[in-house]
């Protein structure tokens, strides 16, 4: 791609334009109204246009002035940490607080290149006890320790 001189700006510009289109498309069925009586669609459409315009400027800048490419993405951390957050969400209702927390914490320790099984197990155990003490005992959050799938309520 010889004409892309600043990959970071080009990607950001495209991202902004894509989001602008997405938001504009989302507002397609909203009443726009007049400047005096603005409907729910007026301001979102105005902002979408503005976002698209800024995106375009960033894009053009990226084609004109040279810059660096983004550094490598840490896929391992990105995927594992996202998964561990999602896992907490999925497991919370059916399995309950402790299993969800333990599974999520353990999964998150895998994201580091310095992962070590013993350390990870210790961190998981410590976090479970600590969070139980702080959030359930201390702050009294009404979260079931074990969910319905594990014989809880």
């Amino acid at each position: 791609m010889g004409f892309v001189r600043n990959p970071k700006d080009v990607i950001s510009g495209l991202l902004f334009i894509a989001l602008a289109v997405l938001f504009a498309w989302q507002s397609r069925e909203l009443t726009i109204g007049t400047a005096m009586r603005m409907g729910p669609g007026y301001f979102p459409l105005l902002l979408s246009g503005l976002l698209g315009l800024f995106g375009l400027i960033v894009l053009v800048n990226g084609l004109r002035t040279p810059g660096e490419a983004p550094s490598g993405i840490v896929w391992r951390a990105l995927i594992l940490l996202t998964l561990s957050t999602l896992l907490f969400g999925f497991a919370m209702k059916p399995l309950g607080f402790l299993p969800a927390l333990g599974a999520s914490v353990f999964l998150s320790t895998l994201a580091s290149r310095k992962f070590h099984l013993m350390t990870a197990l210790i961190i998981t155990a410590v976090m479970c006890v600590f969070c139980w003490a702080v959030f359930i005992l201390g702050l009294g959050l009404p979260l079931p320790l074990l969910g319905p799938w594990l014989g809880g309520y």
């Binding site: 902004f16 009443t31 902002l47 960033v58 391992r76 996202t82 999602l86 969400g89 310095k114 959030f135």
Partner: protein
């Protein structure tokens, strides 16, 4: 004296046992996260927001405020001792502070930072008490066009004072505004920008967005570079300053305090900008600028006073106008709204206990920090030896529990994961997420004032120009925007941020 009565009221609120306790917890936590690199006040306050729901509003705000200014203290300690600024505002402190430590003057540097911060904090607290009520009175006379203009100025100023590309920051603000509009339209009740998802009927959850971007996204980024930091902590001998050193820091502390107080009020200002500006001023006025970078005590005194003063006075626009000047203040507004309080000029008159209590607590908190920090330095340094790969799973766990407990809703957890990925992607593209958060909080307010203003003027946009206050504010915004886009100014600005 009305001011004295008000301060007396404030201290009576702030000195209640419960509030002293929350203030203490706040400054302790603030120092802790200030010491730890990779965990900033934004992520911490976002994590603690759910916990504050159960507290009375005064206590909640006292604790959250303590975290913010406590972080400025903590960051400077590690910057001086091991050249590792825990907080972005103490980056400049590390330059001369750590050199002093290497020359065996760590104690003097720490004492300078503590004294300078305490002095600046005291002055800024008084400024806050002095100027906030008249400003709130003025703001009560504001109509919708003035508010709209003020918010535009705030958003524009926050861009021009931040580092990085201006257009990208503007785009991030607009993106934040759009995300903030998601949910029900206030006038018609029509759901909009919900992506056909039922759970988004009330819009994106503020806590989930903040924690995703500043908690999860930040952790992913920190895991890019896991090289071991070598920790060689300097020994702290005496915390006393010599008479000469004391004389040397008086002027820089005063200059830093004035500068920081002023920059803190400006939208987009706050602690970080203040410390950078103070350092370059000290270097300029010094008769021996070559000493800077080699352990000049002025290079610690100026920025440290400035960042603390800036952290305090940035509360002025938030408490009086309901407009956040930086992301931390945006979170504070979020906390108030969740508590059922609409931030704005009415807070001073309707909730004097809240307003004056928070102000008084800042002075108490600053005092606690001096007492707390100096004796605990050894402990803070030892904390730094906790490796990051042991620390981050705990942050993930707190984020998950925190965001879930707000509404007992798993959807918020998924939202957080989504914003974590988005936050990481944006940082990789050099788009700072802070303006987005600002836009997210201001979005609904901005739209409401625009619609009201246009309704009053019968659809005539000239209303923003014919009313003097709003015209002035918009003119300032335009000037600020033109300034940063001018090539000459742009160059010096880039250089200033490189330092």
């Amino acid at each position: 004296m009305e001011l004295l009565d008000n301060l007396a009221l404030g201290f009576s609120v702030a000195l209640s046992l419960q509030n002293i306790l929350y203030c203490f917890v706040g400054v302790l936590l603030g120092t802790l996260i200030g010491v730890l690199p990779g965990l900033g006040p934004i992520a911490t306050i976002a994590m603690l927001l759910p916990i504050t729901f159960g507290l009375p509003p005064v206590s909640a705000l006292i604790m959250l405020a303590g975290i913010y200014y406590g972080a400025q203290y903590g960051g400077s300690t590690t910057a001086i001792l091991i050249n590792l600024p825990g907080e972005s505002s103490s980056v400049v402190t590390a330059i001369d502070g750590h050199q002093m430590a290497r020359q065996g003057r760590a104690g003097a540097a720490l004492a300078t930072a503590a004294l300078g911060s305490f002095f600046a904090g005291t002055v800024a607290t008084f400024l806050l008490a002095l100027f906030a009520p008249p400003l709130a009175d003025l703001a009560l006379k504001f109509g919708p066009p003035e508010y709209f203009a003020l918010m535009v100025l705030g958003l524009v100023a926050s861009v021009t004072l931040a580092s990085g590309s201006v257009v990208k920051a503007l785009a991030m603000i607009v993106l934040g505004l759009l995300l903030g509009l998601s949910g029900q339209d206030i006038y018609t009740g029509v759901p909009r920008l919900t992506f056909e998802v039922d759970e988004l009927a009330d819009g994106f959850d503020f806590v989930a967005l903040a924690m995703g971007m500043f908690g999860i996204g930040e952790i992913i980024r920190n895991l890019e570079d896991e090289s071991q930091r070598s920790l060689v902590a300097a020994k702290v001998k005496s915390l006393m300053l010599t008479k000469d050193e004391f004389k040397q820091i008086i002027a820089p502390v005063l200059r830093g305090t004035i500068l920081g107080s002023f920059l803190g009020i400006l939208p987009g200002g706050g602690a970080m900008l203040s410390s950078f500006a103070a350092y370059s001023i000290e270097k300029k006025v010094s008769r021996t600028p070559m000493r800077f970078g080699r352990g000049a005590i002025e290079g610690v005194a100026g920025p440290e006073s400035a960042n603390n003063a800036g952290a305090q006075t940035s509360f002025i626009p938030m408490l009086t106008l309901g407009i956040p000047s930086n992301p931390v203040m945006a979170l504070m507004i979020g906390a108030l709204i969740i508590q059922g309080i609409t931030p704005g000029p009415n807070v001073v008159t309707d909730k004097p206990d809240l307003f004056w209590g928070v102000i008084a607590s800042m002075w108490i908190g600053n005092f606690m920090l001096v007492l707390l920090n100096l004796p605990l330095i050894g402990l803070w340094v030892r904390l730094l030896t906790v490796p990051y790969h042991v620390m981050y799973p705990a942050i993930i766990a707190f984020c998950c529990i925190g965001v879930y407990s707000v509404n007992n809703n798993t959807f918020d957890v998924y939202t957080m994961a989504l914003f974590g990925v988005l936050g990481y992607a944006l940082v990789k593209l050099d788009c700072e997420p802070a303006p987005l958060l600002l836009g997210f909080v201001i979005g609904p307010m901005l739209e409401e004032y625009l619609r009201r203003a246009m309704l009053i003027s019968r659809g005539d946009p000239m209303v923003f120009i014919t009313r003097p206050i709003s015209a002035t504010l918009l003119l300032l915004a335009a000037v600020a925007l033109v300034m940063v886009l001018l090539p000459a100014v742009r160059k010096t600005r880039e250089e200033a941020f490189k330092e």
